[in-house]
């Protein structure tokens, strides 16, 4: 078991290395340098030139790469050109916002998908099952930005029951229940949108898993010893089907990150996805490279997490 985790972890290191190299090359192609923002009409070009030499911008690329990556490991990603603060402090707060939004989305996702998947599997081929399958098909086919806009229009403007942007009302003090509730309330519409869009995988998996389990011997045994059918579902089938769902968890995180660019931009939610789009618009390259690196790292972490959970759940797939 630990061998698998270690092996999987070691595979991640070269992937991270190639990713960082790719991002470094991309960053080199971006116009401008950390001092572009400092130039004013009174600046002496020689001073800037000296600063550039001091910062190592004329070093060979591998020296620059080495410096960049060692600084990044120490949490120093440079400064934002537009906000004039360090990138790590700029991203820190946004990262927490994205984290809370993702957490709520995942909770809602499972709260919607698990009952629907179980019902569809249990009452296979019934009208209910057909409805759920149709729903999961539609949610799979709708692009994120279209549903987000329609929801924002319907529940933000047409029937204004949800706020249309921001994370919290300014009238509340941090630490109070009102503040907490206001935060959740602001996250609710984007989280519901995301959860509805992402349910497809879980519903379809759970449904086919339950349909398969129905004809298994352990279910027959449970039935023949007189267990009521609802108990069989809750105590036997559900538990067995739930394990693979847990393994999906890592991929869910990956999907969330990709969707956050759209969802946060549309719902005006100041997280990392929205920061990414606004940094692109203002050509704030140190923020962009850090965000791409961070998203790449989190994606890798998500697939690592999936593999680890999977190897705990299913010993057959452990790498030896």
């Amino acid at each position: 078991m630990w061998k698998t985790v270690l092996r999987r972890f070691l595979v991640m290191i070269p992937q991270l290395f190639v990713l960082s190299l790719l991002i470094f090359i991309m960053a080199k192609f971006m116009p401008g340098d950390p001092f572009t923002g400092l130039i004013t009409p009174e600046t002496d070009p020689n001073v800037i030139e000296e600063l550039k030499i001091k910062a190592g911008l004329y070093d060979p690329w591998y020296v620059q790469y080495y410096n960049w990556i060692t600084n990044a490991f120490q949490g120093d990603f440079g400064d934002s050109y537009t906000f004039k603060v360090s990138v790590s402090s700029l991203i820190g707060e946004r990262a927490m916002n994205t984290f809370w939004l993702s957490l709520l989305s995942v909770i809602l996702l499972y709260a919607i998908a698990i009952p629907l998947g179980i019902l569809a599997g249990r009452y296979q081929d019934s009208l209910l099952d057909k409805g759920i399958v149709l729903y999961s098909f539609i949610s799979y086919a709708i692009p994120t930005f279209v549903l987000s806009l329609i929801f924002l229009f319907m529940f933000g403007y047409h029937i204004p029951i949800f706020p249309t942007s921001g994370t919290v009302d300014v009238s509340h003090d941090p630490g109070t229940w009102g503040y907490f509730w206001s935060k959740v309330y602001h996250m609710l519409l984007p989280a519901i949108t995301y959860a509805l869009l992402a349910t497809t995988g879980v519903i379809q998996y759970l449904r086919s898993e339950i349909i398969d389990s129905k004809s298994m011997d352990y279910v027959k045994t449970a039935r023949s010893k007189g267990l009521p059918i609802s108990k069989v579902y809750t105590k036997h089938i559900f538990r067995n089907s739930l394990l693979p769902i847990a393994a999906f968890f890592g991929f869910t995180i990956t999907g969330l990150l990709g969707g956050s660019v759209f969802i946060e931009t549309i719902f005006g939610y100041p997280g990392m996805g929205q920061l990414f789009i606004s940094s692109i618009a203002s050509r704030d390259y140190s923020v962009i490279t850090t965000l791409v690196m961070l998203f790449g790292f989190l994606t890798l972490l998500g697939s690592l997490l999936s593999d680890i959970i999977m190897s705990i759940v299913d010993p057959r797939i452990r790498i030896e």
Partner: protein, 303 residues
């Protein structure tokens, strides 16, 4: 006379005994699934309609800004109203849909060819080539693709439609290659491939004339679903402003006017038709793809 009846009897027997092939199966599936048939006809009508209508629209004329028609409501000189520049929404809808569909088709073809060829070859030969490509594919799978495409779009100096298609294709062949590889891998262990090898058939002939036709139904399904996916990705990126360049309007560009809260809340006619058209296209293409997938798998067929 007797001969004639005999021959008709024979042909009747032939049709009964031979299992339905390729196209017949698909046709039967669509006949059985009314919704899929409806989606197919609707899609055909929309696509043909858009291409024919776009022939009658002069794009320069359409994109000319006139202040007089600013946010004209539907019916006030424009059938579907006008945007902030007084440009006809209907015209932009047709041109945008044409551009979005054309580009999605081109990307589907490019990524389809790359994915199918790479998948077939790596799956067939296995060994070192397969290992190298699998590592590359594994790496691509862990990339935050949306963000990297956006970065590429912003740093390319001469950005145009061709550049956009290339950037998209660079990242979108992965899924197809992976799927085709796994299928080609199992297919090349089959007896007919071994038999063909023993007879001394060239590898290229085995791959493209023997294995490929056997997984053609899978390829068709994959391409259809990719087409839907590409429409979604292109319109999504154009919506964010990192898709087609401004000179080539897309359905996503039209929806992106809704980024202005005033347009979103009060000027529905500007963005809703494009959003609904994207929705209809995505649902339709995906539904047709699902029906094709069912007909490709004997266990799932309805008809």
């Amino acid at each position: 006379m007797t001969q004639q009846t005999n021959s008709t009897e024979n042909t009747a027997k032939d049709t009964i005994s031979s299992p339905p092939t390729g196209f017949q199966v698909i046709l039967r599936e669509f006949k059985k699934d009314k919704l899929a048939m409806f989606s197919l006809i609707l899609l055909g009508l929309i696509i043909v309609g858009i291409y024919v209508a776009s022939l009658f629209i002069d794009q320069e004329e359409l994109m000319r800004i006139s202040i007089r028609g600013k946010y004209a409501e539907p019916g006030e000189g424009f059938i579907l109203g006008a945007d902030h520049g007084g440009r006809s929404i209907l015209g932009q809808l047709i041109i945008g849909a044409r551009n979005s569909i054309t580009i999605a088709i081109i990307i589907t073809i490019i990524t389809g060819i790359a994915g199918v060829v790479i998948g077939l070859v790596t799956g067939y030969f296995g060994g070192l080539i397969d290992n190298i490509f699998m590592r590359i594919i594994d790496f691509f799978l862990t990339l935050p693709t949306t963000m990297i495409i956006i970065v590429f779009v912003t740093i390319i100096p001469k950005y145009n439609v061709a550049a956009f298609i290339l950037i998209m294709s660079l990242f979108l062949w992965i899924g197809t290659a992976r799927l085709i590889r796994s299928k080609s891998l199992s297919e090349s262990r089959r007896d007919y491939v071994s038999a063909s090898k023993t007879m001394g058939t060239r590898n290229s002939t085995i791959i493209f004339k023997e294995i490929m036709p056997n997984i053609s139904s899978l390829i068709i399904v994959e391409l259809t679903l990719n087409f839907a996916g590409n429409v979604g990705i292109e319109t999504g990126l154009s919506f964010l402003g990192f898709g087609l360049p401004p000179s080539t309007p897309s359905l996503g560009t039209l929806v992106s006017y809704a980024a202005n809260p005033e347009v979103l809340s009060t000027k529905l006619w500007v963005w809703l038709p494009a959003a609904l058209l994207i929705l209809v296209l995505m649902l339709g293409i995906n539904y047709v793809g699902q029906a094709l997938r069912r007909s490709a798998d004997a266990r799932q067929r309805l008809g």
